[in-house]
């Protein structure tokens, strides 16, 4: 177990600047998720920590030791790849024991560690099988087993669930989380899926365009997004955001007054944000027209239009309105968000 510290880490590929100085401290035993759209540099950052990419500038330290010039194998890390990267010509047992075999560990110790990992991951009956004889979820578990037997200081996961179907993804999500709670190994987990990030992380670093937009606990990010990017990236369905003018403590937009908890200067151009579940359908309020109703059982997602601006409303239970019906929206002022229209920063 160990802490990880990124200090002003930069990465250029030729003339393309991929990371513009990332600083991030991950504490011992923490589950840190790096999340962001593809191309934001999250995988590159992880690969730099793994020693698979050179560091252009800055430093990376594991447990206080700067590892910029330390070989991957000497960093005491284990990585789970999106493609699993299992050795096709080795069975599960050899795949998991490979790293220990390279270290010339005793056969009995390798066997013991592999058995132990297989037990944790429910792979005991598959030890003699080859990767091609396993399902996607089993392969993913073998990849994790390969990491576990190492007993590394840090686990690295690079979009490990992307190749799995939706149901399996949810199951593996809990498995990884449970594994972390059991082993308490510092974990850095990269994903583009904000649901994965929200459900698994102790803390999330939301990345965009080679920078960290916001760092914080999942609900902190959800409740108080630091800027428009985080506001729209975290949460599903995404936050409703539209432009307006701040006047007299509320926002004038789409021909209506939207109550706001945040404060801005009088007549300032702002972006008003409100999450779908904080818009209620009521008997009176801001008039809207229903476009689409998506009942999902426990809740109903409803796409409405206010002055041609599409908004999503999520309500618990079911609603009687159908497409074309007029409804009234009542925003929950306490859960509204205000952003500077020019900078996108939270007000």
């Amino acid at each position: 177990m160990a802490s990880v510290a990124f200090n002003e880490v930069k990465k250029d590929f030729g003339k393309t600047k991929v990371l513009h100085g990332i600083s991030l401290d991950i504490s011992d035993g923490e589950f840190m998720v790096l999340v962001g759209p593809s191309g934001c540099g999250k995988s590159t950052l992880l690969r730099m920590l793994a020693g698979l990419e050179d560091i252009t500038a800055g430093s990376i330290a594991i447990d206080g030791r700067v590892v910029n010039d330390v070989e991957s194998k000497d960093r005491d890390i284990a990585m789970v790849f999106q493609s699993y990267a299992l050795y096709p010509h080795m069975n599960v047992r050899d795949n998991m024991g490979f790293s220990l075999r390279l270290r010339n560990e005793k056969k009995t110790l390798i066997e013991e560690r592999v058995r132990n990992a297989a037990r944790i991951l429910n792979l005991e009956s598959y030890l003699e099988r080859y990767p091609r004889e396993l399902s996607g979820g089993q392969r993913q578990r073998v990849a994790m087993g390969r990491a576990i037997v190492r007993d590394p200081k840090v686990f690295l996961f690079d979009e490990p669930l992307s190749n799995l179907d939706a149901k399996l993804r949810v199951a593996m999500r809990s498995e990884i989380k449970a594994l972390h709670q059991r082993l308490k190994t510092t974990t850095v987990y990269v994903t583009h899926d904000q649901v994965e990030a929200m459900t698994m992380a102790d803390r999330i670093a939301v990345m965009n365009d080679g920078r960290i937009e916001q760092l914080g606990e999942p609900l902190e990010l959800y409740d108080r997004p630091a800027n428009l990017f985080v506001a729209q990236f975290i949460g599903s369905p995404a936050m409703n955001v539209f432009a307006g003018i701040f006047r007299n403590g509320s926002v004038e937009a789409l021909g209506a007054r939207w109550p706001s908890a945040g404060k801005a200067s009088e007549n300032q151009a702002v972006k008003y944000g409100i999450r779908p579940e904080h818009l209620a359908l009521a008997a009176d309020g801001i008039p809207a027209v229903v476009e689409v109703v998506e009942p999902m059982g426990a809740e109903t997602e409803c796409l409405v239009k206010v002055h041609d601006q599409p908004l999503v409303v999520t309500t618990h239970g079911r609603i009687a309105a159908g497409p074309g019906d007029r409804v009234f929206l009542r925003p929950d002022a306490g859960h509204s968000h205000l952003f500077d229209a020019a900078t996108g920063q939270r007000l």
């Binding site: 020693g51 698979l52 070989e71 991957s72 990585m79 990267a85 050795y87 490979f98 390279l102």
Partner: protein, 278 residues
């Protein structure tokens, strides 16, 4: 119906092609089981088929066959050596260029491709001069080195293409698992490349086994020449023993056929792998 027509057309093309291929082989076979007198009789099957020709070969009982066993041993020795050395050179080159991404890899690949434009015959005289300078003329090694030179570019090219198809994450996983480049080569790369390696090894081996021109140039003593060159001597005389030439030719053709048959599974997948960008 459309499918039927298409298959009918394919069959109609295949029959002449098959005959075209098989007739010479049948011809060789016919000669090799005929006596000298009946060889040119024009019959589809000899009146008295005989294995006598093969007996003469095995016992080296003819002027042209006095060194048969030595010559076939030369052929074998050279072919195996060429196969092994080409494989060693090309595998290391492909691994270094494709997996370790060494500097200048592209240049090597371009040069390898460039050598396709130079006909082997074009290099024969320079090669003869070079082997003379090394004092290797009339030694098996001269032919081995010459053939490795000719086979290596294609071998490197194909193996590099095949290597590129292995997922790079495997290398990264192995690196994180603690593998040195040599361990990566031995424990991950070689096992996964086996089909391509078998195909390329066989290619080089057969190329050397079938070689005539360079063998003829670089080897001249009766006890150093390969069987291919020795076969050429048969037709130097006015009254060539055709039945023995054909019988020897048949014997000469058997090892490649056996090798090809044994490794046919790898040949198809191996030689086409890297041929196209999948």
């Amino acid at each position: 119906m459309k499918k039927f027509t298409r298959e009918a057309v394919l069959v109609l093309i295949a029959i002449p092609v098959l005959l075209w291929t098989l007739l010479p082989i049948y011809h060789i076979f016919l000669f090799s089981i005929s006596t000298k007198d009946s060889a040119f009789s024009g019959a589809l099957w000899p009146k008295q088929p005989t294995l006598h020709n093969f007996e003469i070969i095995a016992r080296q009982q003819h002027f042209y066959l006095h060194h048969f066993w030595v010559q076939i041993w030369n052929s074998l020795w050279i072919a195996v050596a060429v196969g092994v050395i080409t494989l060693a050179v090309a595998t290391c080159a492909a691994f270094a260029i494709s997996r370790l991404k060494v500097r200048g890899g592209r240049a090597v690949m371009n040069l390898a491709l460039f050598t396709y434009f130079i006909p082997a015959a074009f290099l024969a005289i320079p090669m003869y001069k070079a082997m003379g300078a090394y004092g290797l003329l009339n030694s098996r090694w001269s032919l081995v080195l010459a053939m490795v030179t000719l086979a290596a570019p294609y071998a490197i090219w194909v193996l590099k293409q095949a290597s590129d198809k292995l997922p790079f994450e495997l290398d990264e996983a192995a690196r994180i698992d603690g593998a040195t480049p040599l361990q990566l080569f031995r424990l991950v790369y070689l096992p996964l490349m086996t089909p391509s390696l078998v195909a390329i090894g066989t290619y080089a081996l057969l190329l050397a086994w079938n070689e005539y021109l360079y063998g003829y140039l670089l080897l001249s003593h009766e006890r150093t020449i390969t069987l291919a060159v020795a076969l050429g001597h048969f037709i130097a005389a006015d009254d060539s023993p055709w039945e023995l030439l054909m019988a020897t030719g048949l014997v000469y053709a058997l090892p490649p056929a056996a090798i090809y048959y044994a490794f046919r599974r790898y040949m198809v997948s191996g030689l086409t792998s890297g041929a196209v960008k999948a």
